[in-house]
Symmetry: C2
Subunit: 388 residues, 2 copies
Amino acid sequence: MSVTFPLGFRARGIRAGLRNAPVPDLALIINDGPRDCVAGVFTTNRVCAAPVRWSREVVADHKARAVIVNSAVANACTGNDGLADSKREAEYVAALVGCEPHEVVVASTGVIGVRLDMPSILKGAAIAHSSLGKGDVVDESAARAIMTTDTVPKTATVENNGARFGGIAKGAGMLAPQLATMLVFVTTDAVVDAEEFQDALAQACEVTFSRVDSDACMSTNDTVVAMASGASGVTMSKEDLVCALTQLCANLARQLVADAEGSHHDVKVTVRGATTTKAAVAVAREVTRSNLVKTAIAGNDPNWGRILAAVGCVPESVAPFDPDAVDVSVNGIQVCRSGGIGDDRDLVDMSSREVHIDIELHAGEAEAAVWTNDLTHEYVEENSAYTS
Amino acid sequence: MSVTFPLGFRARGIRAGLRNAPVPDLALIINDGPRDCVAGVFTTNRVCAAPVRWSREVVADHKARAVIVNSAVANACTGNDGLADSKREAEYVAALVGCEPHEVVVASTGVIGVRLDMPSILKGAAIAHSSLGKGDVVDESAARAIMTTDTVPKTATVENNGARFGGIAKGAGMLAPQLATMLVFVTTDAVVDAEEFQDALAQACEVTFSRVDSDACMSTNDTVVAMASGASGVTMSKEDLVCALTQLCANLARQLVADAEGSHHDVKVTVRGATTTKAAVAVAREVTRSNLVKTAIAGNDPNWGRILAAVGCVPESVAPFDPDAVDVSVNGIQVCRSGGIGDDRDLVDMSSREVHIDIELHAGEAEAAVWTNDLTHEYVEENSAYTS
């Protein structure tokens, strides 16, 4: 259950033939109302895909009735032709649904620099539309249709005081800060105020998707879009809205980490004792981006020296702290104390998939956590063996 | 020929028994004068090793007569005990050489968080000192003594208007910006002014070692130290000094790139048409740090989409440019033009070790180049299979 869990939504993923494999590769998510509020958060990469440029404008108007998303091809770096293709997709779906083109969110994921196979996409959109059903719960097909290098579909649901939330996500490589590289579609039947909805989604993304850093590469296509149908009749407070969206997004973000390309470990780097949250995040990110830290973890080595060396890269102006006061624990063992040798590293058990790195800066009260993965042979293989 | 190429220097690397392998692991470089000027550039990592803390003070006085350097253990994150060890090394060598302790540069490289084996080091220093010979050309032993994961020693010499320069370097992983992670020792028999020498070395490092980015991890031990004996009697202009040092450092830096752990390609990323040199360097660095770009190169894939996505991560405030105006060439083939599809990628020949990525921003006149390596299985293996 996911995007059709809330009242007022229909969804379907079908095989449009965009990929060689016999898998779904195109999905529609329709908001049947009665309301049609939309919010969205997009990549900050200055090289952004045509669908992102289109959908940013849709979201700016706060109204949407449908989402069309395809995998296989990102429709990025395709110039004006690519933009025209995104627009054409929106126009076609708008005609199917009975709304305006600028009420249709468009998303794509896949190879960069290749044009969309528009005949297949439009034909697929028609097929998907005709196979939608009210209350259709077979919408794991939508979650599957957006997968590329993902090995499993990612879905989540949340209920909060009578309002329902559902979500699907894709993303297994090219995760990054400033919005993990991925596509996320969220639906809710809560009654929401447009600006509150946008702000609540942004807050949720900030502490979930933006705190996932798999290989420090930002995508051209990052998209998180949420639609609200109001079909439950339940009006939520802003706080509850933020809470529910954050809970949903955290669940999806954790699934993305667990499916990161070729990874053996999910690594949570928590920085405490920072002067500000921003400083804590900066320190955590320096660690999560370190190839030396991530290869050490791949080798089950609690190499605190490499962790400390990464921490030491953060400028004083960004995160003030005394390097001689830093403690580092791995899976609960304080292997580094006051910037030097701590407890015996052989005490650290790294056999589980989840690894916890805890860094205490002793400089303040702020904390933040960033997730990442180890750097493995499989990652190299997946990203060097073929074009994606 | 390297550090004893200029007049006035003796050097020797010997086996002090710090490593398991039967290889040299400790070296002395002695400046017999008549002058004793020293310059140095060190890591900016806030977590810096005891030898770096010691040597920074030595260099601040602009006078040095000797260098003692060991491999195997970095003497980093060893607290006050580690600092005392570095000081002891300096005192011991000072007594051997007949100078003051603060005229002895100390350097170490190897595993972080482990204490030095002082008895072996001091005994080794005495042995090295006793086996120094005037005009001894067998100083490749010094270049070998500083090797850790290096597969070959790195040496270089330069002659400029009657003055000689020699250098040795080590570094094959953990290369980074703001000084590639490595140890470099340079000697010259030119007559130099202390402050000009320091500034010239800093300039040379800025455009050579600081433009090498192998795995974006800064070290705790980065050290570049240069000594001037004045034995040639030749006084050089500041410009010639900068030129000669830059030539020598560029040669050594290029050798470091060629020996990067497990790499298959040496990658030169050149950014042109930037508003400033700083902007050009920022864009180049974003590309050289991208794991997705580097795995693509490992797979001989001229994946311009990933290159462009990396370029797009640089904030507008750091490097202004229009993403739709960017061109990318790989080994001379313009595979991306105006931010979109360019020439056929199958035209790109990536069979050579050296790969050239040329990025044109069309935003100004500045340019800069940063070297890196591809990200391979061997890199993962070397950095995950054992502690270093």
